[in-house]
Symmetry: D3
């Protein structure tokens, strides 16, 4: 609920601490300034409202005119937003706003590349829990802005039975049955499989989603055939921009990509004072 | 002080929320497990104690035997640590521990590459404030583990007079003088310069550190000559693994590299249950 | 993650504030005491570990010997646990421990009555979001201890499309389709219906769970026939101990009962000093 | 001070967490809605400002027109308030607002019944510390709205010497004397008694308030005679709507009723979208 | 409840922030040290356990041997406690521990001087709400260690009707009556008076405590006679070590002294490394 | 960043807790009042904006007209500010606002006396870390308002190598070298010295600031001569209003005075209701 405010407050506290000694000493109290956020390369925008919130948490009177909406493709040189307000406030919020915005755009842009790579197939690109600690809500939002969809947010809103859970429960069928009777009926049950036998066992147990983990493309294709729409098929492991198209063409419904949130590059954005 | 605990708590709260529904349903309460953290590629280790703290915050009785110390070079296949404890706890801490550890190793490893690239020169590799919001203390620590040193942590423990401060104060000399009289005498004064004239003006005003921003190598060399040891010379802008050696050879004292903390890649590390 | 500790800390802070003036004045510092938690009526136990945690948060050295496990039926006069420790600590923790324990047992006991009432039918008793603000995690746990299962915990781990969502989306089918494409694929889609027509429309749209809201028994029976296993059927509205059996006999899969968490009575439990 | 905001924030966080997935998917961003809070049964109103604050914490621009004031008797069908604002905000705040409001009205209504039952006698109905953990401030307020008055809020703003304190201090007189010299002189001293002898001893020690715990009516009457206005007489134990009148007629000044805050029923209130 | 821990954590966070750069650079990790806390002047000890808690919050393994108890008179040169532990921890906790301990001893010592000044009279020395923001609980404790007693802790645990309350209520009698019926019966009612007429009016209204504010000694004596034990008489205003004896000899029961907590001097205490 | 708000919230929570029972009972809800803050003695103003923030945190609609700016000399009887707003709010904020304002003015006024005492010399008056736990940021600000400047804020924004660090590192030169290579290059290195030999050793090691600790005036003069502008010379120890001029005349650059923040007296300020 109050997660984004929590993130921004933590970041401002971290960056400003007991005060910006340089600005305090050099900038006249009360002087105002204008600035613009400018794209220094092409990317998909995500986080423009978060950038605004950074300045508003410092000073609600800062004027922030957003020129582009999240989810849009931006070209090098485009102005993303105009700011006007107390000069010290703009200087103090600059780094935190950019640190957040640049990373969010990075996630959205990388996601868009994966989405484009599977265009025309039935596969949906989804994220994972391999997100930056503390920033998950922003990264998952950025994935959506890039055209992907979200896997479960955390351990509480999705059931994903992995190898160790299966071992602990004593088999795929038992694990699925236990989950079925004990977790809220509002959650689907997903199980991780490595072989076609496991896929078969999971199907028989009436699972909702089958994760095909690190399977060869051929096996994956076979698994999709075997599943035949009785469960969702999700591919994971070894997914990158070179391999993703081939994976998508096996017919899987979903491809989860850790890289979306652990291997993105911060987009180049500047805040230029006028 | 309590920053690292704050980071871990936030990350656990984010990932586990009201509970790990899968583990609750499939893993017998009280069953124990053993696991190891294993390197899946070569890297410089950073964050092994943080990983331990993740599990200890969940359950102080988890045994965690660290086999390698932060700062050491690790090879693919090496075991970083052994864990033993409640199976549910190991499963619940796994993702958060890896999300932190993999990123920290990423920063340390990238830093080590830059440090190696300037070997034999007088230049020191330093970081910037372009860190991941909320994780700065861990990323700055990882830079040190990779052989770099830290620039100011935040706006409060270093004076860096940039273009906009100079404009606001009405000139380099005035800005430096104001800082000298108003900030704690325990802080050095650094000023950003774009031209040799500005370098000269800053020197005259008795500045402690001169940032040579985005200068051509030739100009930078000239600036170093001009400064002649009367201030520290720090290069920044356009620094990457290809350019860094040339920059170092101009004779600058410090090279600040934003990429260390905004362009690293998470190292591949697994937690294998035995 | 740290939710239960948060609840207990808040409760202790609320009850003790800057100090227990009576105990401070009358009880010698360092004197020890023994006490027992005793059932003053019959009920299903829930919360015994929470009671222990209350005392341990005040003082980790309090000895707390649990004699009965959560989920068990307790008879009037039975001793639930033995405590031994600093007298002031026992006196200061008493009210908070009882306030929590008595309410949790109340929820578990009421749930058990509902579960018993539908014994032999296929219906499962589930809870709702009509929980006591701040105590949801404890009340949902108590429902499980009483033999019920949990509906979605909150707005984030289950999709329940109600009348107003349908109106906003422009129809049942559209609402379901939107949810299907936008929410994590790990969540099932549930829709609220008032008429058989709506049930039909929801089925056609491929919904996972159909909420039969305040339907007459006859209509409900008809709805179950119509659904015919293609979705889960959940009854809600007007459910009490007199009506629940009839509802269960319509063949619904789930019956959600707000009363479990908003109309329970605190069970009578005493802490007796020896 | 900031207690009510703390309660509401906790409740919203608990109910909304990382987001209301249903509303996000089905309700167009920016669409507005109107709704009313309607009484579905007769009760005494308490908490209408708290309900408003729930929506205002989510979005300060929600219009909330209160039609009835706390403390008033409300009839089935009456509209308590009108709301207008962002549709998603109204849907997200609905459950938390109702969960709080329904409980607060429950406390006020039950209190009013006890107050009415002792009408014409000198007895005042007071509450206890048997409140819902985390919600005490709201429940104590609701008791006042129902016509009762508050006993001490917590262990810090009233001295109540119970059996165990007496035992620890070595007698009623010693305990009272210690309290008199050690606690702030702004607090009255109350002591719990079971027998007339204890009442006498307490009087002699100059206590301010005497709690007559679980006494037979006859004994209680005798105690009141004995006290004769030299201290306040408070009855407790076994108080319910059937016994309270008899207790009041013994002449006691105060009757404390745990049920006011541990045995109330949530009043039936709906939020109807227009 | 958790107030003292909150104070210490805040103080450590304030003093150490992201790290003690000097100690990190100069002290070998893991080296241990011994130190003692030594009195550099005579004073009454208060806060020795708080000092210990400072080090234990940093590192539970620090050994802290307390040689003197709070409330005792200490002479210049006496060792208050021995410490042994990680050298970095001792260095990092030193300033915070001393900052707290020196102030607490200051309060206790000043209080003891006032207590001594009224020895032999019936007057008790009490504190006020003029405490250091955030440290009230420690300062009130120190007053007790110095032999004083506490006035109400805050606005919630005592009724003190001042001039403005009287004006708002429309007279002393009305104000007292309103308080009597609306505040918990566990609190006494105190009223501030400036004249004998007001004292009379307050007595007639049955007030519990009468504050004689800034009265001449003669008037005060008269007031005490007038009150004649029917209420407690408390003197305030213009109290210092020169005037306090005279005030006490008027026969008042209590003398409240703001200086105890707003005009104390930090006692000189050193932490000497061995 | 959010430090001042944190201080005020803590103070209000501490003073008001669950409510101001006196005001609640005696002051009509919604009645308004006017008041002024008046100087009862001469002092240097510091904290007037903090006082305003106290009332605004309670109620943003309170009108607060500041008549004098921080840093100005105020005479007895002068009105510092006018307030108008809800009567209950003014009464509830009064004590906290005064507790903060009076202390801040105390620091500023004492600082101004030290500054005046060294007028005409080259010495600057600086503060120390001997501040009131939790209030450092306000006290350091008040020092600036009194004409002093700030030493390092905390352990993280300045290097001060003391005796124990030197011992741990194995000598002055080693300690300085270690600090030089390990702490951010934005921080100066200061070292504590007791003798001229140590001064010499520190100079040779190229230290930036030399602390002359508790030296006799003659030695100090000699040390200044020895340093000869190659480092800043800072005097500390035994500094009071009688000794400070003599110390300044030795030619030191800085004099650090613990008393500024540990021995000030709260200035007398009243809030008068009209």
């Amino acid at each position: 609920m109050f997660e984004i405010e929590r993130i921004i407050r933590t970041a401002l506290q971290e960056d400003i601490g007991h005060g910006d000694v340089t600005t305090l000493a050099t900038v006249e109290k009360g002087s105002s300034a204008r600035a613009q956020l400018v794209a220094k390369e092409d990317f998909v925008l995500a986080g423009i409202d978060v950038a605004q919130q950074v300045f508003h948490l410092l000073d609600p009177s800062v004027a922030f005119e957003k020129l582009i909406e999240d989810g849009q493709q931006v070209s090098r040189g485009e102005v993303l937003a105009w700011l006007k307000g107390d000069a010290a406030v703009l200087l103090q919020g600059e780094r935190v706003a950019l640190n957040l915005l640049q990373r969010m755009c990075g996630v959205a842009t990388l996601t868009a590349q994966f989405v484009k790579a599977v265009e025309g197939t039935a596969a949906t690109i989804v994220d994972t829990r391999k997100t930056t600690p503390g920033l998950r809500i922003l990264e998952k939002y950025s994935v959506r802005m890039g055209g992907g969809t979200n896997h479960r947010t955390s351990l509480y809103d999705g059931v994903l039975i992995k190898e160790n859970h299966i071992a602990a429960a004593g088999g795929i069928a038992t694990a699925i049955r236990r989950a079925r009777t004990q977790v809220p009926h509002t959650l689907k049950i997903e199980v991780e499989t490595q072989t076609l036998d496991e896929v078969g066992e999971a199907l028989e147990a009436g699972v909702d989603i089958i994760l095909l983990d690190n399977m060869a493309l051929e096996t994956m294709r076979e698994a999709v055939r075997l599943i035949d729409g009785r469960a969702l098929a999700e591919a994971s492991g070894g997914v990158n921009l070179k391999t993703v198209r081939g994976i998508a063409e096996t017919g899987v419904d979903l491809i989860s990509v850790g890289a979306l949130t652990h291997s993105y590059r911060a987009m180049d954005i500047s805040m230029l004072f006028q």
